[in-house]
Amino acid sequence: MEEISGAEALLEALRREKVDTIFGIPGGAILPVYDELYDSDIRHILCRHEQSAAHMADGYARASGKPGVCFATSGPGASNLVTGIATAYMDSSPLVAVTGQVPKAMIGKDSFQEIDIIGITTPITKHNFQPMRAAEIPRIVKAAFYIAATGRPGPVLIDIPKDVQTEKDSIAFPNEVKLRGYNPHIPLRMDEVKRAVRLLYESKKPVILAGGGVKSSNAFSELHELSEMLQAPVATTLMGKGAFPENHPLSLGIVGMHGTPEANRLTIEADVILAIGIRFSDRTTGNVEEFCVDSKIIHIDIDEAEIEKNRYVDVAIIGDAKEALKTIIEGLRSIGIAEKKEWRERILAIKEHYKERNMDEHFKLTPPLVLKTLRRVLPEDAIITTEVGQNQMWAALHFKVFKPRTFISSGGLGTMGFGFPAAIGAKVAVPDVPVVDVAGDGSFCMTENSLSTAVAEKVPVIVLILNNERLGMVAQWQRLFYGRRYSAVELRNPDFVKLAESYGAQGWRVADINELENALSQALVSEIPSVIDVPISPEEDVMPMVPPGKGLAETMGVT
């Protein structure tokens, strides 16, 4: 066998995993890998900050369903990845991060640009590896992709000492990996499935709560079928948004702290809740002690540790959501389900009751109206990403999503600065559809330097800034819960139009809905990135809202 270096082995192994794009920044400890990249046909996207490289890879993964890959050098390069890796971890997104490390003999000596990235990322990765011989690299890469993408997906980090990158050996590439401590294929327990079928069959007022797990397992059509079969309305978590078409009569939108009133209302009224791929996060349940105490809960999750981590459940089905739903559907089909006329009427009545008004103030740039305009202008399969804060919640509430993988947001970690680089990653993965980052001014400023990357790499994404010149969500909490004591929330922003232009992108500042539509339609056909600055009132709150620590029944701002 011909001898090759560890760096060559890495790139060959990535190629075999069908990696077409890598996001990263080079540096001393990963130079041998970048030298190999010079001859490779894998596309490398040069970022301006490693945090953004990780977010781009994450956005790529969320839009495509394939693992995203990022590279960073040792020390500060690796530590800059941390927020991006943690973001992917909290939202179960498959990410493979490769970092350079100082040579083996210098590890542990506090050498220049040495950091213990294995130690740092252990709590925020599904697993991490540090090959000590070049020959280990192919097996480790194979294992990393397998771990990242299967079971409950998540980030995996591979930290390669510099001398392992240059070391030559005759290196074999395995076709399979076996990890004796990891088996993502869990057979369903039929007794639990039967109990679930029984409960659903007997239920009079079922509600389905769909989370990110529905997306990971591609269980969209099964969810659709089961919901119609049971006439169970579907509310999603923020991560589940897109798992069920929001123009469907049984869609309730998102549930939780900033859930729609119909979702929160009907969830409380349900006698049986079918929770699929959700983790009962505090942002979804409100005070978990008060959450649906009188209803039976069926929980489907591929991660057995999610079962009863936060909330006691009546039936637990551990396994792949798609397979579980299929089996439940078969079970129900063999019994036959009675029409639930009363429930159906109740659902319709509640939805009708909360149907939004105020669509007539056409020229005022209220956030709901901005998002509805965006929806109207964009094709059905357009992808939106969000930043974090009010912008995110307005988008979740008012931008209806019809297709899977078209709503991308940092749910678990709530990372400001995620949306813009994630939009670039998504656009690279799915270049034929428009990608819009719904941003807050504060969040955009955190990773705005990725405009350089978007311009240089010709990735024409659109950033729509809901500009309230505030850290808006913090200001909202201060307004509602701290007696309007606005501590450290006012922002002095750059001129976003000039900023965009200085990077070689284009910008608009719009004053009304007509101008917004114009700017959007120009941006949509443009080949360079666009920034649309939309001034909104700093006093605007996201409503409805369940105050922190309260139950879903105590929703504010609903009439």
């Binding site: 294995i118 130690g119 252990t122 004796r180 401590g181 057995e304 540790a305 079962i307 009863e308 981590k309």
Partner: protein, 168 residues
């Protein structure tokens, strides 16, 4: 108290991953003992935690999630042989006390493993209760130093967790 037995990959960093998981999730380790098994690539960790059944269930599930953890078993008290080893260095002020300590050591089936003019080291193995009893008895003489290993344990009977591990 709950005893958990785990088989893990016998390689660097695994103990860190396990203990880090406990720390991050806010679980407390009462005692942990780690050592090689009859298979060079496998190690066994015996972990004792304080908490109810619900907590134990979560700990087991979180342990199983770790890629380097191959197998996890909750050990039931009656179905388990539990042992701990302690070395106790005791102050010996006069021959009478020496005599007394030797008697206690015999009763507890311990061994004297070091003798010096003014001290003794006793080696004692047994269940944690037995250790506590011995230590309480001799405390009044003055314990100079004490080292306990933490519990190690195996389930009774023919069944092993390693067998299922090797089959993979």
């Amino acid at each position: 108290m709950t005893l958990i037995s785990t088989i893990v990959e016998h390689k660097p960093g695994v103990l860190f991953r396990v203990s880090n998981m406990f720390r991050r999730r806010g679980f407390n380790i009462e005692s942990i003992s780690v050592g090689p098994t009859e298979h060079p690539d496998l190690a066994r960790m015996t972990i004792m935690i304080r908490g109810d059944e619900k907590l134990a269930g979560q700990v087991v599930k979180q342990l199983r999630k770790l890629i380097d953890v191959i197998s996890v078993q909750l050990l039931e008290e009656e179905q388990t042989v539990q042992r701990e080893l302690a070395l106790v260095k005791i102050r010996v002020e006069n021959p009478e006390i020496r005599r007394e300590i030797m008697d206690y050591t015999n009763i507890f089936r311990g061994r004297i493993v070091d003798v010096a003019p003014n001290s003794l080291i006793v080696e004692i193995t047994g269940t944690p209760d037995k250790m506590d009893a011995f230590i309480n008895l001799i405390r009044r003489f003055g314990i100079l130093e004490l080292s306990r290993t933490g519990i190690t344990a195996l389930s009774r009977g023919e069944a092993t967790i390693i067998k299922t591990v090797r089959a993979v």
